[in-house]
Amino acid sequence: MASAELMDYDKALELFEPVLGFEVHVELNTKTKMFCGCANEFGSGANTNTCPTCLGLPGGLPQVNKKAIESSIRLGLALGCEIAEHSRFARKNYFYPDTAKNFQTSQYDDPICHDGSITIELESGRLVTVEIERAHMEDDAGKLTHMGGATGRIQGADYSLVDYNRGGVPLVEIVTQMIEGAEHDAPEIGKTYVAAIREIAKALGVSNARMEEGNVRCDANVSLRPRGSNVLGTRTETKNVNSLRSVERAVRYEIQRQAAVLHAGGTITQETRHWHEDTGRTSAGRPKSDADDYRYFPEPDLLPMAPSRAWVEELRLTLPEPPAARRKRLQAAWGFVNLEFQDVVNSDLLDAVEATVAAGASAQAARKWWTGEIARLANVAGVAADSLVTPVQLAALIKLVEAGTLTDRLARQVLEGVIAGEGTPAEVVESRGLAVVSDDGPLIAAIDAALLGQPDVLAKIRDGKVQAAGAVIGAVMKAMRGQADAARVRELVLERAATIE
């Protein structure tokens, strides 16, 4: 698409007001699926986690996963939602090969959670409250793989394969109210809102919340109305935007695209749109009208649910501190400047640093190690930093450094040993013989030898030219093969220079 078909962003905002809405699907990390006992597992062999129920075989019947209800209620509570006293499932009827029953078991007029809100903070410090209309439960569809086409899309494919392992995995769909007044911040609001949902789901432990694995998926609704108009414009729904950056880009793109169409006198088609990560564009999907008829009706194979108020209150007590509040508290407690703190947050190391501090390390040292050496090693190994060492191990390592037992350089070697599975830091120090030599005897002998070997340097030191000591320190460290604390060496060099005969 030529850039002429996109209006400059600032001009678009001058002429139109964007109205947003988001539907975020959160895949729950329950052990089993929503309506059967099959494993809810990513990466198993195709169609291995299936049974008559999730394959939609004749005679299969659903059974509700109580843990999924619990997770949904906790998610709803964390989003400030009311938890319905009576809730039920409904069938959403449509034919598609990835939907084994050819209906999705979802919720319609009685969602489990409704009427909540969360407040998000933009980089500018602007606070935006996003109203949540509802959060309802449903089962996921299977996965289609289109074979033989050039693009992996259904168009042009020779045939398609279906893997029903994902079919029946529990989802919570969180639907916002219309978001008005977003203005220039619209793309950032999209990104920040989805990030907040992801963070909440992760903090609750109800989802693995990995966008790259599709645990969190966002459909972004965007419409524009001319400045001064009260009438809502026609919206498009960009489906399955699966990274935070893409949410931001897709919203921005739709604003620019729709503005160009409207400004040229065209009309927006109510439709779904596909987001193309590679080109940064959206393309038309299928027309979607408000009259799409899914022939919803209450699921007769499942009983209505009436979560007791006592249970809901019990679950409320299990809620963790809201992520945003927690971040504020931790930054203050640790005394990190914004840049340091963002570094920790962006590296997904908040939990790791917090646990390391809890294990007795100083906040700065914990940050330095996690975002520095450990992140570097993790990057090389292509794994998550917090999978390499435990906070307790790191705290022990930091304590050894602070006690002077290890230099930073030695500590890095000990870390390698710990990662290699050689034991606790203390055990690695022991087995590799890496401790700083703390018995001054050998050190003093080495220093004396170095001083006497360089009489001119000794003379300079005695003359008060303290910086000359560097040459001796270097020689001593070399003699000690690095196993000496440089600060202590310096101290002793000055001391011996004054007294040596």
Binding site: G56, L61, N102, R295
Partner: protein, 515 residues
């Protein structure tokens, strides 16, 4: 060995327990009888002779080893083709499932096997249980053993005909609007629709989820009770399955055989299920039975259920609505036949459409279309929503009636067995035939049909329907067994002993005679 097929399940069970007869002998006797008569009757869609004999041999071995077995162990049984069986094709009478062997057993089938019953095969039915005559099976009609030109009822005509023609002492059925009770009535057998939730639906191919219930088919009330005890009870795989502990239905049936079992029992006659539209001989036998009940000390009261008038209409909205959704999974993707379109591209949508067009029969399509329409946006409230309200009103009618009486009775069906083709062209006439049985499904209450004689005008069986409050299934067995005993004492024989003999020779002769 032919006498073995004439025995009730209970009587056969005694011979098996005393080892006078082996399960293999009993099974072989039934298989022989099936071979002799079923080519003509066509109660079975599939007969698993070798598997049945092998199962029977295992039971004999276990019994010989002194193992404690269920009283029904070694007793043969026929299974309606709506129930998933992992060793036999399961088609629900539909072409779309031709040859499909499920990878699992329905819970009731698993329970049968665990109790040591011997599955003989799968019985014919109206496609997806849609019908009252078994004429809607994709695999041909089943004949009524009483009159081969007449329907055996439906949808479970195969199970009822199998039992009534002594091809099996027991069978399993499913009842969505009368599919167990009406075939029982027109074949002179016994059929029970348990309380909704009393028997697991897991593995029963769904017609209308909120109405379907699996139940026993037999020749005596006691046999049905024995089978009910095997298949009933909570199943965690069916979320609508009730969690209560149920009393023994067999014990309840035995209680009905005690002297004075009917004394003081309050029996309600439903005003709305009598009169116009009921065949004279049906009404006559029904009234005679009431007179017997009075003589036995029961108190007869007429009760009104004003909303039953709307039951058929509400049923034919709820059923098609749920069925349209339940049958959506028959799309050729994972199981069943696949039909490619004659023209156009081979997209999944076109293949699904061509498969469903070729695989579903006319009645199934009619109901899918009705249901799809009834659930459509803008029509939901008027149709499905209103029908659900009627359902509540019918439940209230039952509640009010059961405040006054212990059981409700009516004829099981308005007429005796009708002739093939008689109602095929007129769906409404077919639907209205279920007027007596539908209310129990809408309310979820249990119902039983027992034979009460032959209509004088056509010599065909008439059934009495007994209904009890939800979860009071045991009451049906007590009252049913008591009435059955009274009638048989009166007649001096069982009703099915009067059925025309079905031997290959005789049938052959009658075929020749017809020429």
């Amino acid at each position: 060995m032919t006498y073995l097929t004439k025995l009730s399940a209970a009587a056969l069970s005694e011979l098996l327990i005393s080892k006078e007869v082996s399960a293999v002998e009993a099974t072989r006797a039934h298989l022989d009888h099936i071979a002799a008569v079923d080519t003509d009757l066509h109660a079975f869609l599939h007969v698993a002779g070798d598997a049945a004999l092998s199962t029977a041999a295992q039971i004999d071995a276990r019994r010989a080893a002194g193992e404690e077995l269920n009283p029904l162990a070694g007793v043969p049984i026929a299974i309606k083709d709506v129930l998933a069986t992992q060793d036999m094709p399961t088609t629900a009478g539909s072409k779309i499932l031709e040859g499909w062997v499920p990878p699992y057993d329905a819970t009731v089938v698993a329970r049968l096997r665990a109790a040591g019953l011997v599955p003989l095969g799968k019985t014919n039915m109206d496609e997806f249980a849609m019908g009252s005559s078994t004429e809607h099976s994709a695999y041909g009609i089943t004949r009524n053993p009483w009159d081969r030109d007449r329907i055996p009822g439906g949808s479970g005509g195969g199970s009822a005909a199998a039992v009534a023609s002594f091809q099996a002492p027991l069978a399993l059925g499913s009842d969505t609007g009368g599919s167990i009770r009406q075939p029982a009535a027109v074949t002179g057998s016994v059929g029970v629709k348990p309380t909704y939730g009393g028997v697991s639906r897991y593995g029963a191919i769904a017609l209308a989820s909120s109405l379907d219930q699996v139940g026993p088919v037999s020749r005596t009330v006691y046999d049905a009770a024995l089978l009910h005890d095997v298949i009933g009870g909570h199943d965690p795989l069916d979320s609508t399955s009730l969690t209560e502990r149920w009393p023994s239905m067999a014990a309840a049936a035995r209680a009905g055989l005690q002297d004075g079992a009917l004394k003081g029992v309050r029996v309600g006659v439903i005003k709305e299920l009598s009169g116009d539209g009921f065949q004279a001989g049906v009404t006559q036998r029904f009234n005679e039975t009431l007179a017997l009940l009075v003589a036995a000390g029961a108190e007869i009261t007429e009760v009104s259920a004003p909303n039953f008038e709307y039951a058929v209409a509400a049923y034919y909205l709820i059923l098609p609505a749920e069925a349209s959704s339940n049958l959506a999974r028959f799309d050729s993707v994972r199981f069943g036949i696949r039909v490619n379109p004659e023209s156009g591209s081979l997209t999944s949508e076109h293949v699904m459409s061509a498969t469903r067009e070729a695989g579903f029969g006319a009645e199934v399509k009619r109901r899918i279309i009705l249901g799809t329409y009834a659930l459509s946006a803008g029509y939901y409230d008027a149709y499905y929503g209103s029908a659900q309200k009627v359902r509540t009103l019918i439940q209230r009618d039952f509640a009010a009636a059961f405040n006054q009486v212990d059981v409700l009775v009516s004829p099981s069906a308005p007429t005796t067995a009708f002739k093939f083709g008689e109602k095929l062209a007129d769906p409404m006439a077919m639907y209205i035939n279920d007027v007596t049985t539908i209310p129990a499904n809408l309310a979820g209450v249990p119902g039983m049909s027992i034979p009460i004689g032959l209509a004088p005008e056509d010599g065909l069986p008439v059934g009495l329907q007994i209904m009890a409050p939800a979860k009071a299934d045991a009451r049906l067995y007590t009252v049913g067994a008591a009435i059955e005993q009274l009638l048989e004492a009166n007649w001096g024989h069982t009703m099915l002993s009067q059925a025309p003999a079905l031997t290959p020779t005789e049938m052959f002769a009658s075929e020749e005679g017809a020429v």
